[in-house]
Symmetry: none
Subunit: 193 residues, 4 copies
DNA sequence: AATGAATGAGCCTTCATTCAT
DNA sequence: CATGAATGAAGGCTCATTCAT
């Protein structure tokens, strides 16, 4: 059933994915959906939960444990970035969660769970940052920036606005990481906390 | 009439803003809308065009012409960033342009115009980057990154996901600019183009 | 449901028959219609298909198989003519097929089927004409003329314009058949193929 | 203004000819139309009146006065037939009058006038028929049949159904006239009034 | 667990017509 | 005479959701 939803969703996008269509794809009638999900938003919740599992799997699989912290940072960050860059529908889901999802569809519990799983996917980067010598606070801050940077690039790429700038999102993300590593490993210049 | 659209839009969001609702808010019947706009998308087009004008006004007003390039960069970037940070509905509009707007509503001409106006708002940063010694290509690349970074932060802040990280979007954006300036002014380390 | 459509259609004509009205007559809400038909044109398609079946039934039932070809021609032609003369709504449907029906509502397949069924209803006349000694080409031509004549009379009668001429459509159609038979059975005069 | 209506009407057909469109074509705004016509139907009434004038002009111009009655019949009948065959929009108008026009649009007076003008266009045929020796009653009957035949052929041709029969409407009409003349000039067989 | 017909509310849009200016 | 903004009614259609079976 979730597979059907995902399939429809991949084919028709988040706007075109009606209950009817999902049911048809699943070989059921519309009413049957409601045996599995409370409402339409709940489907997205489930879809998103599953998407985040795949995201975590991708991040977990990335990077040899023996890697240097800086390389680990690169590996883990590239993992979540390329997961979304490669799977635009997962990015859609993420944006949908973030933008349009009605509070009704997401129980507080599920919302927490989803947030936690997103954090889980980003934590390896934070860990690597700490391993590079950053305090917990600094690591959090840098990780937030890193995430924001990636999200911005993904959004631009996803909507075609990045071609507008004649740039390649993945290259720019890589460059950001390189600059970041450089900055962290360099002797901090005067005047920076 | 545009005011009515903006009001409804602010109240109900971009999805909930139906022609009926906009007409009601404006004190008209739905048919009357079509004396002013060809269709629903055209309303957003007009709204967006106006939003981009305000954006450009904000950017143009920012920064004393006498400023050093680095400070000018800061001023101009902060201008567009804070415009969107302060006016979340304009951010919504921007995201809508970027994500959902149907080609039908936007004539190719208008689409170009809107893109141009967005570029206009970002160009001062690029100019400042070149004034700091970057080549045209490098300036474009850095400007793209800068924009992406801001967009990512704005998105996170806008959707409440930034509090999740206990960070302040504006501070993070400022930090990015500082690092950027530092990096550009520093003697480039070996191995970086 | 089809009955409702037919009823509304009889009451309000083909132009006045809205989905809303059909639904109301059927005791349903508009949306319910779409469980039965893909769109409005499909309703007419179904209505027309059924009408053509009744037409064919009437034609098939007409004329003792033992009849002479000339009498069979009379019987079959009178059958389709009187079907439409007696059931003006079926005539309306036929005109609608012929004039206004959008390609969207009628799949190519259905369109073919409808055309075929109309041909089926006219074929017995053509067969009788051939039995009277006409070549296939001549039979087709005479049958086409016969059909056109009937259609013209039906249209005039239907729209009240025939009273304008103080004539009775059925009598005129009968007279046409009589003349036709006479002409075909008579030794062809010189100069006519 | 009528010209504008006719132009729009020729371009967009009877369905697509909205008041807005007519006004635009005429260089006016919709409201201005109502300075000239009571309502939309009145426009069609005027259009039709004018069409019938052109029809009569065509019929009047046809056939040398010196012609034999039989040839005159051919000339006059061919005139009205080819008028409609050549100007399908006039045929549309005629069908519209006959099928869809609301009583509101046509004052009784105008209706009479239109009927009279149609009769005028057909009268030369009737006169020719009488000149060939038919009684007034017989001439009326034959003329009615002739008109019906032509109308049937025109309808079939107009709607593309005549190609279905692989026939040429004009040829079939000509053949009808030839048969008619032949029949009338031949010694009437026994049993035909 | 599943059906599937049905609802009800809503969507965007069109259009003849009116009327104060 | 003409404007043109506005109306009001209607149009076809979509969709999440419900519920008796």
């Amino acid at each position: 059933m979730l597979d059907a939803a995902r399939t429809v969703f991949e084919k028709l996008g988040i706007e075109g994915a009606s209950i009817r269509e999902i049911a048809r794809q699943a070989g059921y009638t519309p009413g049957a959906i409601y045996s599995y999900f409370e409402n339409k938003e709940a489907i997205y919740g489930a879809l998103l939960a599953e998407s985040l599992e795949r995201l975590n799997a991708a991040v977990d699989a990335a990077g040899d444990p023996e890697l240097e912290p800086a390389d680990m940072l690169d590996a883990k960050a590239s993992a979540w970035f390329s997961f979304f860059a490669t799977n635009p529908r997962d990015l859609d889901l993420g944006f949908y969660l973030v933008q349009g999802m009605q509070p009704r569809g997401l129980t507080a519990e599920l919302n927490y769970k989803l947030n936690d799983r997103l954090h889980d996917a980003l934590r390896p980067c934070e860990t690597a940052l700490q391993a590079m010598g950053l305090s917990a606070d600094d690591a959090l801050r840098e990780n937030t920036s890193l995430f924001a940077h990636g999200v911005g690039l993904l959004l631009m790429q996803h909507t075609g606005r990045i071609r507008m700038f004649n740039q390649d999102a993945t290259l720019l993300f890589e460059a950001y990481i390189i600059d970041l590593v450089e900055r962290l490993l360099a002797p901090s210049p005067p005047g920076r906390g």
